[in-house]
Amino acid sequence: MSARSSAVTRERFMQRHVIVSQERKKEGRKTRSKETIMKLNEKSVAHYATCNSPPDKTGFLFKKGERNTAYHRRWFILKGNMLFYFEERESREPIGVIVLEGCTVELCESESEEFAFAVKFDCVKARVYKMAAENQAAMESWVKALSRASFDYMRLVVKELERQLEEVQEEARSSQAKNKPKKHQPQVQGATFSLQNAAITGPSQEGVSSRENGVSWSKPTSVPNGVSEGCVWEGDFCGRGDGVKPPPVPPRRKTNGGSPESPVSPGTGCFSKLHEWYGKEVAELRIEWMQSK
């Protein structure tokens, strides 16, 4: 192609491109054309699957194909809120990944497979990922693990423990002051813990996220009854020679009274209620399953 004609072709292409995007802007369309796939840092995501951090769960599962209805045996690795699947256990790279946010896990009836369950998402026209385990125990274990895999769930647990630790430290400080060291009374079973800054997902905030300056991380002087029965705790954690520093405190988010509840999580800010919800769901499904057999 001569230089001139390729220049003309290019110019025509650019004109066409400009016309198309102007037309779409006129239509007020804010979505991109259907052909464009959203980018993802896939290489690094795949690296996360196989890097040295320990996975949360691994095992073989049968996964129903996207186009055809056959179930294929795949090796699965669950890490955080990412469920990776590989063709073989030895494969170096995953075939794919399922991001586990805003999903529910349900047992399901399958004509061809026993021990089947499905991962379902909230969004419109979402895919349903059908999977089957090799036995009852594996199915229950996977359902449990997957339903607690979301970032939001982890965040909730962390917040709850952060709050508990502050309470405990506060009590340790005040009992020191009174010169009466005593063992902290464990929380009453079944008490309702409402998270102080109850936002499962923080509201959109530009501007200062308040840092937690109020909490002092200084180690309390030895609490007489604080030595644990399970030495595995002391040994494992304090054994690290790097002078274990507490991790930086996640910033507290200021809420304006009624904080919006995230649509990707069941609607409750109370940790113990939320946890009950997860547990109840699994228990109910289990009963359903048993009855259907």
């Binding site: 690094s44 951090s53 955080g80 647990v157 423990l161 509201p203 530009e206 609490v223």
Partner: protein, 153 residues
Amino acid sequence: MRFNEKELVFLSRQPPERAAELGMRGPKKGDVVKRRVVKLIVNFLFYFRTDEDEPIGALLLEQCRVEREDDQVFSIVFLDEAERKYLFECDSQEQCVEWIDAIVKASYEFMRKNLIYYRTEIHRLTGTDPLEQYGISDETRFQVNTGLPPAAT
């Protein structure tokens, strides 16, 4: 590698932890700074053209390092490809610091470390495992050591 794109796009519409219009430059040689709307949601950083509702792309914020490049500029680098930097230009030093802080804390693994620390500390101070009352003390994701449940006492 396949991924559930539709669900990710849906996720990008949830209330973000943090959102702003920043200058963003990709890691490829020849990439230039472009204005993008950047949203931090769970452990993903979504980026949008300023006039579009659907994200152009997402970065999973695991196994990455965030660094201050300049007064108002920070970078994200993924550990498996440390030479490739994503650059972000902020409008102020304060904004830059806040974004760095937010992104560091946005990883699942960071939260897990926090959790393990709190769990261990509470146990050390009280003699009780705080997760026991919720019946989740055996979950691998909450374990102190390398993914194995602690030895039965």
